[in-house]
Symmetry: C2
Subunit: 370 residues, 2 copies
C-alpha cells in the first residue's frame, strides 16, 4: 500500500458504473440527466460524465458554477435560492454560459428582472415536503406572481418548477422513498396543469439520490438532478439506495495506535477527513472499516466502525478479527457516512489536481496525485 497519510480513494470504475446506470435510466425514461456536481466538485471527475452524454449540470453555489464554467461546462444550473448579493458574478457567468437560477420569492424574482444584464433560465422552487426552501404548493397566488415576473422579463426564461426531496433521507424504507417521490411528482404535475392555463412550464425537475436510485422509471417529470450517486456512501446504503459494492470512495487512514484491552484502533482520520456526519444505527458511527487492496477495497469488517472523531483522530471500535489483522503502520479504509462532505474536506474542489486524492483506474497506476 503506497499511501502514507489520510488519502481519499476514488474508484473510477465504480463511479463510471454509477454514472452509466443513472444516465441509462434517465435516457430510458426520456428525462434529461442534469447531475449535481456538488458531490465531487472536481473538473477531472466531471469529465467522466461526458462519456455518458452529460452536457448540462447542476451546482450549489456561484463559486462552483464559476469553477465548472472555467472547466468547459456551458450549461449550468445553480440549484440554490439566488443570492442577490452575487449579482455581479451572476451577470459575468450569464454572459459566458447558459446559466440557470432558482427563485422562491417575488423579491428575488423582481431583483433579477431589474438587475440581470444577460439572459438566464429560471426555475421556481417548490417545497414538496422537505421544508427547507421553496414555496408551498398551496401558495398558488405567490407562485403565479413569480412565474409572471419571470415570464414578463426579457432577461429571464422560465424553465419550470424544481423541487428537492431532501426528506427522502429520513425515510424508513425504499417503499417510503418511492411514495415521497410519487407524491412530489403529483404536486409538481398539479401545479403545472394549473399554471399552464396562463404560462408555459417546460420542465419539472426533481432529483435526490435516494429516490433517483430506487425509482425504477421516471414518470411525470422532465429532469433529474442527483449528485451523491456518483460516490454513494454508508448513508445511501442504509437507505437502500445502493449496494455496499457501489460505494466508490473510501478514505485510506494510517493506523497509529492499537489498544488491545478495549478493542480499539486509533487512525489518522478525523473530522477534517470524514466530517462529523454520523449515523445512529448500531450505535453512533462515522464510517465503516474496509480492508484496502492494490486497486480498490473489500467489504466492511463486520462489527467494526469509527466510533468517534476529533479533529485528526478517528477511534475504531474493532472486532477481534480486525484486532488480529491490523497493527501500527498499516492502512485501513473507511467508507464515509456522507461522501459529499468527505470529498469536500479533501479539497478535491477548486483545485486542478486531485490533492491527496488517489483515483483508481485500470489504465493508470501512478502516484500522480500525491
Amino acid at each position: 500500500m503506497k499511501f502514507k497519510r489520510p488519502t481519499l480513494l476514488v474508484d473510477e470504475i465504480k463511479c463510471r458504473k454509477n454514472i452509466e446506470k443513472m444516465a441509462t435510466k434517465a435516457k430510458d425514461s426520456g428525462v434529461l440527466f442534469r447531475p449535481h456536481f456538488k458531490t465531487h466538485q472536481s473538473a477531472a471527475i466531471g469529465d467522466w460524465f461526458r462519456d455518458y452524454g452529460v452536457e448540462k449540470i447542476t451546482v450549489s453555489s456561484v463559486v462552483m458554477a464559476e469553477y465548472f464554467a472555467r472547466n468547459g461546462w456551458n450549461d449550468i444550473l445553480v440549484s440554490f435560492p439566488v443570492n442577490i448579493l452575487e449579482i455581479e458574478a451572476i451577470n459575468h457567468l450569464a454572459a459566458k454560459v447558459s446559466l440557470h437560477l432558482l427563485v422562491e420569492s417575488e423579491f428575488s424574482a423582481s431583483f433579477l428582472a431589474q438587475n440581470l444584464s444577460d439572459k438566464a433560465g429560471v426555475y421556481v422552487k417548490i417545497d414538496t415536503g422537505n421544508h427547507r426552501t421553496g414555496l408551498s404548493p398551496d401558495n398558488l397566488s405567490d407562485i403565479k406572481k413569480i412565474v409572471q415576473i419571470v415570464s414578463r422579463s426579457d432577461k429571464m426564461t422560465l424553465n419550470g418548477l424544481l423541487a428537492h426531496d431532501g426528506h427522502t433521507y429520513k425515510a424508513g424504507s425504499p417503499e417510503e422513498i418511492i411514495e415521497i417521490h410519487k407524491h412530489s411528482v403529483r404536486i409538481l404535475s398539479g401545479l403545472k396543469s394549473e399554471l399552464e392555463k396562463d404560462f408555459r412550464i417546460p420542465v419539472l425537475s426533481l432529483g435526490d439520490t435516494p429516490s433517483c436510485s430506487i425509482v425504477e422509471r421516471f414518470e411525470g417529470i422532465d429532469e433529474i438532478r442527483p449528485g451523491n450517486f456518483v460516490f454513494y456512501d454508508v448513508m445511501q446504503y442504509e437507505l437502500g439506495a445502493c449496494f455496499i459494492q457501489d460505494i466508490a470512495v473510501a478514505v485510506a487512514c494510517p493506523v497509529v495506535a492499537v489498544h488491545a484491552q478495549r478493542n480499539e484502533i486509533v487512525i489518522h482520520g478525523g473530522a477534517v477527513h470524514l466530517s462529523k456526519e454520523s449515523l445512529e444505527r448500531d450505535g453512533k458511527h462515522y464510517g465503516w472499516v474496509v480492508p484496502l487492496s492494490d486497486r480498490s477495497w473489500g467489504l466492511p469488517y463486520p462489527d467494526c466502525y469509527v466510533a468517534s472523531v476529533s479533529q485528526e483522530h478517528g477511534l475504531i471500535k474493532a472486532s477481534d478479527q480486525l484486532m488480529r489483522n491490523v497493527g501500527i503502520g498499516d492502512m485501513v479504509g473507511i467508507l464515509p457516512v456522507h461522501s459529499c462532505l468527505t470529498a469536500n474536506l479533501f479539497r478535491v474542489s477548486f483545485v486542478d489536481k486531485l490533492y491527496f486524492c488517489e483515483v483508481f483506474n485500470p489504465k493508470t497506476n501512478d502516484d500522480k496525485n500525491q
Copy 2:
C-alpha cells in the same frame, strides 16, 4: 457590509486578547506556553503569537508541521501518535527544525530508535482519562519500557510525559473541569516521581482549552498546549471556558430566503462552512446568530439558532425580532459551535493568503482577501 458570500470573519483584536491572556497566565505560572496551531492552521494568524513571546508550537499532523516550518517556526511538537509511515517526512523535518514527537507504544518507540536520522524530542503520551490515545498510568511497566527505549537512543531526547484532557469537553461544570485537570496533574506527577528513580523527566505537558481557560494558575506541570482559545466558540462558551464576547470568529452568511409563516431564515452557510458539529442544549443547533457590524459583530440574538445544515444551506430558527430585522440580501453572522472545524473548512490552512477569510484589524481595512 461588503461581504457577498459565506466568509470567515476573524476579529484580530479579540484573538490577540485571547492570546495575551493565556500567555500571561502561563508566564505568571512559570510554565511554557506551546500553543496548538491546529485551530487556525494559518501562518498569518500564527505570526500574532510571536508578539506574546511564543516561539514553540504544537500541531496535529506532519503536514501541518511542514507548513509551519516553511513559515519560520523552528520548534514544533506534532502532538499525535507518531505515524511511522511518514518517517521520511519526519526525518526531513527533524533535519530542519527542533521536532518533537509523541509515542505511546514500544513498537513506535523502537521504530523511531531504528529509523530516525536526525535528533527529535519525544513525549510519552499518558491517558489521564480521555481514553482516546495514550498509555494507562497503571501500565507502569510499558511506560518504563518506552522511556528506556527513548532514553537509550542517540536520536531521541526524552522531553517527558504528555496528556490531553479531552474529557473536559464532557464536563458538566467549570468545577468539574478543574477537578479533571487536578486529577491529571496528580497522575502525571505521580508517574514522574516513579520514573525519576531511573530517568530524568524534564517536562509534564497538559493543555486542553477548557481547563487552560478555567484554571487560574498552573501548578505541577511545565507546559500547556491549548489551541482553540485563540478563537473560542459556542461550545467553549457553554463549557464556561470563555465569555461570549471572547469568541473571535464568526461566519458571515447571506440571507437567501425568508419563511415568515414558520419563522425560518435560509442562509448560504451549511456543513461545508460551519461543519456538522452540533450542540444539544436548547435543541440541537449548529451555531448562534449575531448581527454584523463594520468591524466586528454583536451579541447573539436571543432564541435564534441554526437548526439544521445541509451541504450549502443553513436553516435558522428565528425569533420575531430577527424576522423583523432581516431580509433577503442581508448578511448575518454565525458564531460556530466548533471553531477549529469551521476554520479548517474555510481553508485558512495551507494557503498563503486567507482565502475567503476576512481579518478585522484596526489598522487595515481592505478587501485584500476576497
